[in-house]
């Protein structure tokens, strides 16, 4: 922290000012001129929260994607399909057993298993051939999308999360003062805050896993030089399968979490694939912190775009990608 401030004093000041302005925007009661300029505070805060929770969801999906790529140089374009399959499986199990958490666990494990199968049956056969692996995952995603459409039809499914996750929480943020002087507090769905909390928890867990465990150390070593890693006697195929399981499992997990926050329907696979792609392109392929930064940028851009200039929202996301590619082709946290 201190080193950063000393080395990049200018950027430290910029970041500090940005955080200060943001904090003021969140906690202060907006004066009239600001309200006239960018609309009601409630819209702003809700958009901000929506953006951050969406970012959490994107992080859950994209972190698996980026983890798999970082270690195996393997772009799994069927990642969106794993997300959707996780959502559907979780829904079926949750409906049958009546327990949402059981559905979540089954989705994680089942999709992790599917990931291991993909890794063992397909990717291991064509190691080092990036293009073929990518084409195979495209083929799998076409078939998977069609089969899922056949089984679960085009209907939109809606989860029922546990009771205590329902409802709205009152945040300690004042939107406006009533004429009597009483403050009006902003309310926000509990479930979405839980999504955000889950994403943060998963992020921390991933960080601990990568930085504090033996397997994580192997993964990091593998990202740097996998040939050297296998030369030191590590069982690299097993490691690959493990990482693939975690990455795929996270997609399935996100399928249930995201399916509850929004809904699950055909086409969501492409949406989350696009989100993962842009998040990792922006954040840097193979970097978990990069995925977090990218997810935050893209989630916020998408929600603010939707709220403030609806028909051009996608262009905003796209612009972020182009700017990052122009300035830092390897992504914000990417290394090459």
């Amino acid at each position: 922290m201190r080193q950063f401030v000393e080395r990049h004093t200018f950027w430290a000041i910029v970041i500090f000012l940005a955080v200060a302005v943001l904090a003021w925007l969140i906690f202060a009661v907006w004066p009239d001129w600001l309200e006239a300029a960018i609309g009601r505070k409630k819209t702003f805060i809700n958009t901000l929260l929506n953006g951050v929770t969406l970012a959490g969801l994107y992080f859950l999906v994209a972190s698996g994607f980026t983890l798999v790529f970082g270690l195996m140089r393997n772009v799994n374009l069927a990642h969106g399909s794993l997300y959707l399959l996780g959502g559907y499986l979780g829904y079926e199990v949750a409906e049958a057993s009546g327990s949402w958490f059981f559905g979540l666990a089954v989705a994680f494990l089942a999709i992790a298993g599917a990931g291991v199968l993909m890794q063992v049956l397909i990717f291991r056969r064509m190691e080092g051939d990036d293009l073929r692996q990518t084409l195979v995952t495209i083929a799998i995603s076409i078939i998977a999308a069609d089969i899922m459409l056949a089984i679960w039809t085009g209907t939109t499914y809606q989860f029922a999360p546990p009771e205590w996750l329902f409802g709205a929480a009152t945040l300690p943020v004042v939107s406006v003062l009533k004429s009597s002087g009483d403050p009006v507090f902003i309310k926000y769905p509990v479930y979405r805050l839980a999504v955000l909390g889950t994403a943060v928890a998963v992020g921390i867990a991933l960080w601990l896993f990568l930085n504090r465990t033996r397997v994580g150390m192997m993964v990091r070593a593998g990202v740097n030089d996998r040939h050297m890693l296998s030369a030191t006697g590590i069982n690299v195929p097993l490691l690959f399968a493990t990482v693939f399981a975690i990455g795929a499992g996270l997609a399935g997990f996100a399928g249930v979490v995201g399916g509850t926050a929004l809904s699950i329907a055909p086409g969501e696979d492409v949406r989350y694939l696009l989100a993962s792609l842009i998040v990792v392109i922006v954040g840097g392929l193979g970097s978990v912190p990069g995925a977090a930064i990218g997810a935050l940028l893209i989630g916020l851009a998408e929600q603010f775009g939707l709220a403030y200039f609806p028909t051009y929202g996608v262009v905003l996301t796209f612009l972020i990608m182009v700017v990052v590619l122009a300035v830092r082709p390897q992504g914000i946290m990417g290394t090459r």
Partner: protein, 356 residues
């Protein structure tokens, strides 16, 4: 057949492979014996899809850059024809004459293609696929949301090709010949470009960019030029496609269609410009007649499985399969002829020619 011979005038008919001559005669005579459905829905459509895939084949096969945004480029040209020309929806439709609309649409497509090239050539390999895929999906969502310019979900309908020289160009036979002319022209152009100095250096860049850079070649410029050329091909095909369909909507530039283009190119084969056209014929025939064998709804599964099988077992597509069978047959024949002597190299010789 060297391209230079073509211009120095010593190309004799004897140099033309009988298979090529037969194909040319067949393609020219095709409308004579086929029904309108086969001429228009199968023939012309295959040629157009083949041309779009040809632009992908050119980028991927010679430049080593797999782009999923070729359909997006074609889509931009198509959308601009609808926006600048006439359409029956009542949104936009500036009513420009065709000789302004077509060059403008083509120019926009080429500019967009150049732009895609410029941002994606800074990275390579897998990154390129991801970036172009992201562009394709973003464009799809953009045209679906934007009602002012692109008329959102509905898109445009009633887009007509011009009536020229007293011929209505959307009639099956004229349209077939128009598509054939465009497709054959680009086919020849790609073949020619592949053997030009530029094409050879592009292929060398595909094989080893670092060495080429060290030799003093401008790698980035070569790649961007490849995108420009591919943009011309895809843009022209996009104009034909919008005339063929008479309408364009976000569904026409959707990600599934973009992947179909990739499927066509890969299934056909990325090593030779004839591959995309082969792939397109197979794809269009499957699309039209697979209904008889399997539920229409499950068409994507058929395509996906076919794609998966090709990628898993014959990475060079149908062309690779064909070459393998041919070399097996030749090998077998040679072993019979040279019985007693070990027949070596037969397979390698054929293989190395195809590796150009």
């Amino acid at each position: 057949m060297d391209a230079r011979q073509l211009f120095s005038g010593n190309l004799s008919l004897a140099d033309v492979h009988p298979g090529v001559a037969l194909t040319v005669v067949f393609l020219l005579a095709y409308p004579g014996f086929a029904s309108d459905f086969f001429v228009f829905q199968i023939g012309a459509y295959s040629l157009i899809l083949g041309t779009i895939s040809l632009s992908l084949m050119m980028l991927a096969g010679y430049g080593g850059m797999v782009s999923l945004a070729q359909l997006t480029i074609a889509g931009i040209a198509g959308y601009l024809v609808a926006i600048l020309g006439d359409n029956s929806v009542g949104v936009m439709g500036l009513g420009w004459p065709w000789w302004l609309t077509v060059p403008a649409a083509l120019l926009a497509a080429v500019l967009f293609s150049t732009f895609i090239g410029a941002i994606s050539v800074r990275t390579d390999g897998i990154y390129m696929i991801m970036i172009t895929l992201a562009i394709a999906v973003a464009f799809f969502y953009f045209v679906r949301q934007n009602y002012v310019l692109f008329n959102g979900f509905t898109g445009f309908a009633g887009i007509e090709p011009p009536t020229l020289f007293g011929i209505y160009w959307r009639d099956p036979v004229p349209f077939y010949y128009l598509s054939l002319f465009v497709a054959a022209g680009f086919f020849w152009a790609v073949r020619y470009a592949a053997r030009s100095t530029y094409g050879l250096s592009l292929q060398a860049i595909r094989d080893n960019p670092r060495r080429m850079r060290a030799l003093g070649y401008d790698v980035t410029l070569h790649r961007i030029v490849a995108h420009i050329l591919a943009g011309v091909i895809a843009g022209t095909a996009g104009i034909l496609l919008v005339w063929f369909n008479g309408r364009i909507s976000p569904g026409s530039v959707g990600i599934d269609v973009a992947i179909d283009i990739l499927v066509i190119a890969v299934v056909g084969g990325l090593r030779h410009p004839i591959g995309p056209f082969l792939g397109a014929i197979v794809f269009v025939l499957l699309e039209n007649f697979a209904i008889d064998l399997i539920d229409r709804e499950r068409f994507n599964t058929v395509i996906g499985v076919a794609f998966l099988l090709v990628v898993l077992f014959s990475p060079d597509g149908l062309l690779g399969l064909f070459n393998r069978i041919r070399s097996q047959v030749q090998l077998g024949r040679r072993t019979r002829l040279e019985a007693g002597r070990p027949a070596t190299g037969g397979r390698n010789v054929v293989g190395s020619i195809e590796q150009n």
